[in-house]
Amino acid sequence: MDAKCLECEANVNIEDDAVVGEIVTCPDCGADYEVASLQNGTVTIKVAESVKEDWGE
């Protein structure tokens, strides 16, 4: 599956075993996206949240 980068319009490859919530990175410009939905082989992505101060483990 492919999605189009919202920044540079490059193709962002989404693996077949991807799940909603997974982070993918544009190979051309490095922008991070979150897989927003997966339905019948169609994928939509949204801009991933950036790292916040309280992120960690």
Partner: protein, 294 residues
């Protein structure tokens, strides 16, 4: 919609969350993946009946995971970890306080609450020491302070930040240790993985997220005693307990993680850590223990 017995609360899917899902599927257990970012929770609504009775909290955002789990708990859902454990682990000051109060070996820690008093805290601990934010991790803003000039620069830099958390100065003794620390993953009352985490070249921090690597660490009786005592003091659940070696048989606990990452530890382990977590989640009693909100 069929109610599932277990769920995984997330805000970002990493390798760990996918592996937890795979392990649940291998056991034939259906489960819900619950995106914390999409949760809209009416506090006076008792209708949380479609949610699973047990939910594993895996949020990377401390405040998000803590607050969603405290609402879930108030509506009778068992979260792993409990909101109380997440609260204790997510705040380094609270973690250090409970470790020191309960006799767990931990680095000497002094806190100050203004830039004026920060230098006094640093001098109390002595050089070299480590300055850390009380919330957040992956080694960010963890600074080695080796002299007074560095201390003054760090205090001044923090003073200029608008975030009031930046004026809470958590200062810790720098332990003379080998270029590694130890991560023990504890599930319930058992250590399921124990690894050394070695620093990446040119970095004194040992976080795997900063390029460090893991190797198997033998569980000695002294290590086991310290780790299991720590787990008991903090509260039972799934914990990533980090220790440093003051000597070959003396360990100090410097951090307890409530939503532990275990990809690095898995590389050096023969058994599936996610599998052990899933088995614990499936077997644990769904009744609530001590809640953060009554």
């Amino acid at each position: 919609m069929t109610k599932k017995s277990v769920g995984i609360l997330f805000d970002r899917i990493r390798w760990e969350e996918k592996e937890l899902g795979r392990q649940l599927e291998m056991r034939g257990s259906s489960y819900d993946m619950i995106d914390a970012k999409s949760q809209v929770l009416a506090l006076d609504d008792s209708n949380y009946s479609t949610l699973p009775e047990k939910i594993l909290v895996r949020c990377v955002s401390f405040y998000r995971g803590l607050n969603v789990s405290s609402v879930y708990e108030a509506h009778g859902i068992k979260t792993i970890n409990s909101a109380r454990v997440l609260d204790l682990c997510g705040n380094k000051l609270r973690t250090s306080q409970i470790l020191a109060s309960r006799g767990i070996p931990t680095p000497k820690t002094v806190v100050a609450f203004s830039s004026e008093s920060a230098m006094q805290a640093i001098e109390t601990v002595g050089f070299p020491c480590v300055m850390k934010p009380i919330v957040g991790s992956w080694g960010r803003q963890v600074i080695a302070i080796r002299d007074r000039e560095t201390a003054e620069a760090m205090i001044e830099m923090r003073e200029q930040q608008s975030d009031s958390m930046q004026t809470i100065f958590y200062i810790q003794e720098m332990i003379k240790r080998p270029p590694r620390d130890i991560r023990c993953v504890v599930v319930g009352d058992e250590i399921v993985a124990s690894v050394y985490r070695y620093s990446a070249p040119d970095n004194w921090k040992t976080n795997v997220s900063l390029g460090g690597h893991a190797e198997v660490c033998k569980i000695t009786p002294e290590l086991e005693e310290t780790v299991l005592k720590t787990a008991k003091v903090v509260g039972q659940g799934v914990l990533g307990i980090d220790l440093m070696e003051r000597s070959s048989s003396e360990f100090v606990v410097h951090e307890v993680n409530g939503t532990a990452e275990f990809k690095g530890a898995q590389m050096a382990s023969t058994q599936s850590i996610a599998g052990r977590i899933v088995d614990y989640m499936l077997s644990v009693d769904g009744k609530l223990g001590q809640k953060l909100i009554a």
